[in-house]
């Protein structure tokens, strides 16, 4: 069968849920002026009204962070843009940084105005260092613009230090401070004590851009899209066994069935939603699964697997990733990841009985409730969803 890729792309692009907010041309000067004129409380109210939740994966309501940092008493506060896009299978922030950096900066400015910060830092994934020159030029123009308008806010770039865990907000802060990337204990949350102990709001690249757009066009433009608990749209990085991999902005609330029809084909066996730390959804559950906080949340990574893929290999690959990328400080994550990997290997090699998989499932569940940070807590997502849905491929 000859696949008509053009036809597929057309189908996706004309889908009723396909939107164009992030990459659309916007009048940045107008946006900056609007932010300058808006009272801090009004900014927070507008964001609250929009229902915007963090686009990095965890989905924390953005306005709560802003409110927390606004109420924190400190002369010095910071805005940090989390551009440490490290989740396997996501590459949308790169595109946004390359094409729409001004909107990120405007979003940071809106957050700065809301909380009273004078400095903003973009923590840029080290692998994206090739973007620094272009980004810095845009920052220079932006900083100059704000200076001319007498708005006291300056943005800097900090090149990341390599580890996956630095995408976790408190590890990112440690790394920003020049320390080893390791998660902090929470509380205190960054909104109370963040960068250098000062109230800090950390947002994903995409969240900041949506915040900027909400400032420009009002909450309505955002909340009219999506579902009750998943407002707005989301930028997806689509990869894996698809003919049309790429970056797509789609309204929240699409079912995986719709998604697989658009991007996959009849051989699509499963979709890994949310990258290595996300959930594996088998074809049998596509119909009932909504992409969103009420179903499967995602930071944007959507990986399609065809029936030619071995789920054992996929799980093995993820576990190898976690074994290496755990920061290593807490026991459940450091040792647990190694045990999960070693465990499935041993079952495959018949060194351990099939029943050992249940011990490993228990271990994964315990990791979720005992690990120190989001990294260790989410290893159980792929492990449990792959093992439970494809047990026969892991244990045989």
């Amino acid at each position: 069968m000859v696949i008509d890729i053009k036809e597929k792309e057309r189908k996706v692009n004309s889908h009723k849920k396909r939107v164009n907010l992030i990459f659309k041309e916007h009048d940045i000067d107008k946006l900056i002026e609007k932010v300058l004129k808006t009272e801090p409380e009004k900014i927070i109210d507008e964001i609250k009204d929009s229902g915007l939740r963090g686009r990095g994966g965890a989905g924390f309501p953005t306005w709560i962070k802003l409110k927390g940092a606004r109420e924190a008493k400190s002369d010095i506060k910071y805005v940090v843009c989390n551009a440490d896009e490290g989740e396997p299978g996501t590459f949308k922030d790169r595109e946004i940084i390359e094409k729409k950096a001004e909107k990120i900066l405007a979003g940071m400015m809106a957050v700065a105005k809301a909380i009273g910060a004078k400095e903003g830092i973009i923590y840029l994934r080290a692998e994206y260092n090739y973007l620094i020159d272009g980004l810095q030029k845009k920052i220079d123009v932006f900083n100059k613009k704000l200076e001319d308008m007498k708005f006291d806010f300056t943005v800097f770039i900090k090149s990341g230090s390599g580890a996956y865990v630095c995408g976790e907000e408190t590890s990112l802060l440690e790394s920003l401070e020049g320390k080893r990337g390791e998660a902090r204990n929470k509380p205190p949350y960054p909104a109370q004590e963040g960068y250098l102990g000062k109230p800090t709001v950390i947002n994903n690249v995409e969240t900041l851009v949506y915040a900027a757009l909400i400032m420009l066009d009002g909450a309505e433009c955002f909340k009219k899209l999506g579902t009750m608990s998943s407002k707005g749209a989301k930028v997806f990085s689509v990869s894996g066994d698809t003919d049309i991999p790429g970056i797509y902005e789609i309204e929240m609330g699409m079912t995986l069935k719709e998604f697989a029809e658009l991007f996959g084909d009849s051989n699509t066996k499963a979709v890994q939603v949310g990258g290595a730390s996300g959930f594996c959804v088998p074809r049998s559950k596509f119909e009932e699964t909504v992409i969103g906080f009420e179903g499967v949340p995602t930071g944007g990574s959507m990986m399609l697997f065809s029936d030619k893929r071995s789920m054992y290999n996929i799980l093995h690959n993820y576990l190898e990733f976690f074994v290496e990328e755990s920061c290593g400080q807490c026991t459940p994550c450091r040792v647990g990841c190694q045990q999960l990997l070693k465990g499935i290997e041993s079952i495959k090699a018949k060194e351990k009985s099939k029943k050992y998989i249940d011990e490993l499932l228990e271990l994964a569940k315990n990791m979720k409730i005992t690990a120190k940070c989001g990294l260790g807590q989410s290893v159980c997502n792929p492990f449990i969803s792959i093992v439970e849905n494809f047990r026969e491929e892991i244990v045989y």
């Binding site: 990337g181 390791e182 271990l363």
Partner: protein, 593 residues
């Protein structure tokens, strides 16, 4: 009134100060929660996760050591969910741990072992992922065995927070994460001061002292050797704990009896050479003051004490430009060694080559110190073996001695008498207090102006202590000190030493004399003392030291009859020719890496 937070733990209502953790609250309710990475000397890590507890209405468990207690929280510390989670974590730790407990130096005194025993977790709950680590035996003081390490980072925090040395740090991530040194160099080649605080804060056998128990037994069993022993001031207040007794009591008499039973030919006391140190170091200070004030010479002041070998190596690495400010006096251990092999050997007609000097110290850095190349002034290695209080406790147990029932005995002459001033060397501020008792009296002919000779401003566990003593009514030869306000400072724990040393380096130090002890609390909580250690135990041992001082007739170093005698018979005078040869030393500039 501090703000209070009310919560329930296992249905027991408890009220704690705002900012307290759930662990604090549980302690207050007399509920024990197991911990590994937590240590009250150190900042909160929250990384081992064994202290997890359940909060009503919350699915994820909370690390009780790292979670603030909140109003109306309902916490459960002993649910099935909690127990299973703890078992999982202990099992995970055991899976990366070298579980050859019978061959472990910490067998029976290991926090992981005792937890595994309590929770009935065996070592094969999970597959062993133990790596093949090379044991680092390069240091004369400390052995580092990564196969026993549980990555709790207590050592890292100790080295950074208490000591500001940072010889130990985390390297690698994920499965490669481990506790390492600069560029993975051996312990003997990095800035490690050998203080051993990492050893006393390590919950397992990953960091232990290099023990010389067998070597000491060998010489004790060699009839051709005359084996003398010296015991540091702090040993007597820690030894009880090492043989299973409660903290807070001094056991000088029983200790001497035990040493004689072990077979030492002569039992001496480092307190004697502590007294001698005061005479030498005090005279050195007065000479420096005289040169500065009367002779207007450019001399190095303030003078730093030099008794603590951890401090010496620290300043050699960190502040190599101000080594002139250190007293040239050897530590009491290294004064007694050469005196035993010269003065005492001669008086007994023993060939020093047949003599072995063993010292029992609360310290692991003393092992390094005894091996310094400068420490051969008797013509032989001045101190042959250094063992810690802990090793001594083991020897007593190996020998089957029922320590508690021993009768008291006294140290041997002619290096065994001591005063209360020598005893208090074991606590932070003790050297300063002893020096002031003697120096003030030399200068003025009167006792130091503190009630019962207790120089209270330099006592206690505050990190940096200061005192100012105005000198009035000087004897004729010290007239230049009339009305001088003698300013002194005392610091313990090397992180407290840094600001004082930095002041000196910047030429901004307001002091004349500064006492530094590497270990928090001083030698009573040295790296060679029994475990566990915390401020409560530090206070108990300190109290025992001061009680011993108070109970003694002689409490000023210059009144020690054997010290007087050694000057008459052998050394002639403080800072004399023989002193310089045997009791003073030089220092080495070292790099940071």
């Amino acid at each position: 009134m501090p703000e209070m937070v009310n919560l329930k733990i296992n249905d027991i209502s408890v009220s704690v100060e705002a900012g307290s953790t759930i662990l604090d609250a549980a302690k207050k309710a007399n509920i024990k929660i197991p911990t590994l990475c937590h240590h009250e000397d150190l900042c909160i890590a929250g990384n081992c996760r064994v202290c997890v507890v359940e909060q009503k209405g919350v699915n994820a468990l909370k690390a009780s050591c790292a979670t603030p207690a909140e109003e109306n929280m309902e916490i459960f510390t002993n649910t099935n969910k909690v127990r299973e989670a703890r078992k999982t974590i202990i099992g995970l730790l055991l899976s990366e741990h070298n579980n050859d407990c019978l061959h472990c130096y910490k067998n029976g005194n290991c926090e992981l072992q005792s937890m595994a025993k309590d929770y009935l977790v065996d070592s094969d709950k999970y597959i062993s992922i133990l790596k093949n680590y090379e044991i680092d035996r390069s240091s004369p003081s400390i052995i580092k065995d990564d196969s026993k390490c549980i990555r709790c980072q207590r050592c890292v925090r100790t080295c950074a927070e208490l000591q500001d040395v940072n010889a130990l740090a985390v390297s690698g991530k994920g499965s490669e994460m481990k506790i390492s040194t600069f560029m993975e160099k051996p312990m003997d080649y990095v800035v490690c001061t050998n203080c051993g605080q990492c050893v006393t804060h390590c919950p397992t056998g990953a960091l232990v002292e290099k023990n010389y128990i067998d070597e000491v037994w060998d010489v004790l069993n060699d009839p051709s050797k005359h084996v003398v022993v010296q015991t540091a001031p702090a040993v007597r207040v820690g030894l009880g704990e090492a043989v299973g007794l409660d903290a807070g009591k001094s056991y000088t008499g029983k200790m001497v009896t035990a040493l004689k039973m072990l077979g030492f030919d002569a039992v001496f006391d480092t307190n004697f050479s502590a007294d001698l140190t005061i005479l030498e170091e005090g005279t050195e200070l007065l000479t420096r003051l005289k040169d500065k004030i009367e002779n207007k010479k450019d001399v190095a002041l303030p003078q730093f004490t030099s008794c603590s070998p951890g401090w010496i190596k620290y300043i050699e690495h960190e502040f190599p430009d101000i080594l002139d400010y250190l007293s040239t006096c050897k530590s009491p251990q290294q004064m007694l060694g050469p005196l035993a092999k010269t003065y005492y050997a001669k008086s007994m007609g023993i060939d020093p080559k047949d003599m072995v000097v063993v010292s029992i110290m609360p310290c692991t850095a003393k092992k390094f110190e005894a091996n310094r190349p400068e420490m051969y002034s008797s013509g032989y290695k001045d101190v042959d073996y250094v063992i810690t209080t802990r090793e001594f406790g083991r020897m007593i147990q190996q020998a089957g001695i029922d320590f508690e029932t021993l009768k008291d005995s006294e140290c041997d002459s002619i290096l065994g008498k001591h005063t209360g001033a020598g005893v208090i060397f074991g606590a932070t501020g003790g050297v300063m207090e002893a020096a002031l008792r003697t120096a003030y009296e030399i200068i003025t002919g009167r006792e130091v102006p503190f009630s019962n000779l207790e120089v209270t401003p330099v006592r206690g566990l505050e990190g940096v202590k200061e005192a100012t003593i105005k000198i009035e009514g000087c004897k004729a030869e010290w007239k230049f000190l009339e009305n001088v306000e003698l300013k002194v400072a005392v610091a313990h724990g090397l992180s407290n030493a840094r600001p004082l040393a930095a002041q000196v380096q910047n030429g901004e130090s307001p002091y004349h004399f500064i006492e530094i002890m590497a270990c928090p609390g001083g030698c009573i909580a040295g790296g060679g003392q029994p475990m566990p250690v915390n401020n409560n135990i530090r206070k108990k041992r300190t109290e025992a030291i001061y009680n011993e001082d108070e109970s003694l007739q002689l409490r000023k170093s210059h009144e020690n009859p054997e010290v007087k005698r050694i000057y008459e018979d052998f050394l002639e005078k403080p800072l004399g020719h023989k002193s310089h040869e045997l009791l003073h030393t030089t220092y080495t500039k070292r790099k940071k890496y």
